[in-house]
Point group: C2
């Protein structure tokens, strides 16, 4: 197998784990000097062995001690050089006698970087950047978060065509259609934490669980941001009283809230509101993506879906780039559309960088 073929295989191996949480998806193939595959490995989530160590262990199990001596490690991400829950991969590679390392994506993590320099200093032949774009696309959100040094924030926005999240009397069930509600659970299932403000707990009493969709890993952590206590009768307070994990970050400062979530090893946070909390994140420049569910419904009056963003004039309007538009259809039963349901238009957007 060529090194290029081995990298393609390592990309496949990396994709076997669905990803999420503090660690990226990584795959590794160990090649003998004659190009034979000694072993394959990949990462399987926080606290489990890294891909390189996984492959080294399998090589020893299959071929005996010293199996990787003189081998080439082909790995989708630059081997790490830091002590986390597991030892640094560079030490494991050196200990095993690997003499050549080919990697895809350079490690964007400042605390993990230096892996290739350390390997080169020890006399290992190192080549980086092979199929790097494919390797990065395995972990777009992780790469972004690590580069930012904070969790990536996706803001979920839902409302009527005229920008209302509730009618004049405060009722809001349901503005969006059923498939949009299911889609919002899919969003939750894809992140590490779901975040609301204390005001939303008081008004909407959400439970922030994932329903209607499968979960590949642990459910996202439920996070409340704000200084107020949660009402004792709220779903989240009752869940916490029953020993379920609900994280209350007692701050009004979006930066402080994200720092707390970062140290909880969350790399992707879904901001579900309310408008005050979301506006605070927006004004702080801490929104990386917006998913907006626009229902073909008019309310006229009602609660604005978006709060004060500190924008006074149209020249300062917050402009976003539209990445995707999807129509979420009306639910059908036996080929008949439910007349009480509605389509919903989902827009995925990214805030434009300040010029």
């Amino acid at each position: 197998m060529t090194e290029h073929e081995a990298m393609r295989r390592a990309l496949e191996l990396a994709a076997l784990w669905p990803g999420g949480g503090p660690n990226p998806r990584v795959g590794c193939v160990l090649l003998a000097p004659d190009g034979a595959v000694l072993a394959e490995g990949h990462h399987r989530g926080a606290g489990t062995t890294h891909a390189e160590v996984d492959a080294l262990q399998r090589a020893v199990a299959a071929h005996g001690a010293g199996a990787a001596r003189g081998a080439t490690a082909v790995v989708t991400l630059e081997p790490c050089n830091h002590h986390g829950r597991t030892g640094p991969c560079v030490e494991a590679l050196l200990d095993a006698g690997v003499t050549r390392v080919v990697y895809g994506q350079q490690d964007p993590n400042p605390s993990a970087a230096g892996g290739s320099a350390r390997l080169r200093a020890a006399g290992v032949d190192v080549v980086g950047g092979m199929l790097a774009a494919e390797a990065r696309s395995l972990n777009p959100t992780w790469t972004r978060a690590v580069g930012l040094g904070r969790p990536v924030v996706t803001w979920k926005l839902a409302g009527s065509l005229d920008g209302r999240s509730a009618a004049a009397d405060g009722t809001s069930r349901w503005i969006s259609g059923r498939s949009a509600r299911t889609d919002a659970h899919r969003l939750r299932a894809a992140v590490d934490a779901v975040m609301v403000g204390t005001g939303t707990v008081a008004v909407d009493d959400p439970d922030l669980t994932v329903r209607h969709v499968p979960l590949d890993g642990p459910p996202p952590e439920r996070v409340v941001v704000g200084l107020r206590d949660l009402p004792a009768a709220s779903r989240l307070a009752r869940a916490a009283a029953q020993g379920e994990r609900v994280h209350h970050v007692r701050t009004h400062d979006p930066h402080a809230a994200l720092e707390a979530l970062w140290y909880l090893e969350h790399r992707h946070v879904l901001l579900e509101g309310g408008p005050t909390l979301a506006a605070a994140f927006w004004r702080a420049g801490l929104v990386d993506e917006v998913v907006a569910y626009v229902a073909p419904v008019l309310l006229g009056l009602g609660t604005p879906a978006v709060g004060d963003l500190g924008i006074g004039t149209v020249a300062d309007a917050a402009r976003l780039d539209l990445l995707d538009v999807t129509v979420l259809p009306v639910a059908e039963q036996g080929g008949v559309q439910d007349p009480t349901d509605t389509t919903t238009v989902r827009l995925t957007l990214r805030p434009r960088k300040e010029s």
Copy 2:
């Protein structure tokens, strides 16, 4: 040529005129008893001859007086039986000695109906409904307006993702992207009248002309609804002072406004706002279609794009069926996107009938 082939040809002839205004698009083919085509005709707009008369005149011009004696008229719409600007077609057909009439769509106009009964009473063989769906689709808005006995109303709605039509300081240029603004001119070009309230004249000072797109017929009439006088310095007041046609309907009652436009022979009206006038039309049940331009822009505060629709609770929300979603792209020059422009999402919707 068979009668079916003649009807296909009549549909083609009808489509030669782009349509609009008080009259439908109609085509006619006159067949001799042996199936030879004696003449073709079609309508070309208000005040010009109807399709049947056009064909009869051409038959005489080509073949001499009496050419249509014993002929079959194949016509996309049931021949009219009323005296408008031109005489009733049934009399012209009878005078010419036509002995058989095959038509597509039945005339939905109560004052024009009775054409086939009158022909039958005179001994003419009449067949209706051939390719009727195709015939109706030539004139969907006209058919709808004539059925309703009032102009069809399309409400143009434009705003930010959070439902604002202007920022906190009242500025609104530009929320939508350039291609959306051009598209809005295309909407104007397709209707008989463009309507705003006196409040919009005072605040936005529109001129309501069609720009940036070709006009197939006369420009739409410019209509202002409301009791207030137009500010003398407003574009519309100055246009009127220069002799241009600007119709001021001095009423607050949407029904009365549409009645006035109906007697001006307008069949399709574009309602461009403001929110108060639009809400009055909505509450009166007089909105037939909504075209919403949603810009990927957030404003937070600002002028709501939609006024009070009289909706207090979400169960009474105004639900619409989504007919189309189109992304109007960013303007490009030499393959480079203009960084100051924005995409806009256009939603075309139809209010759901009350259940």
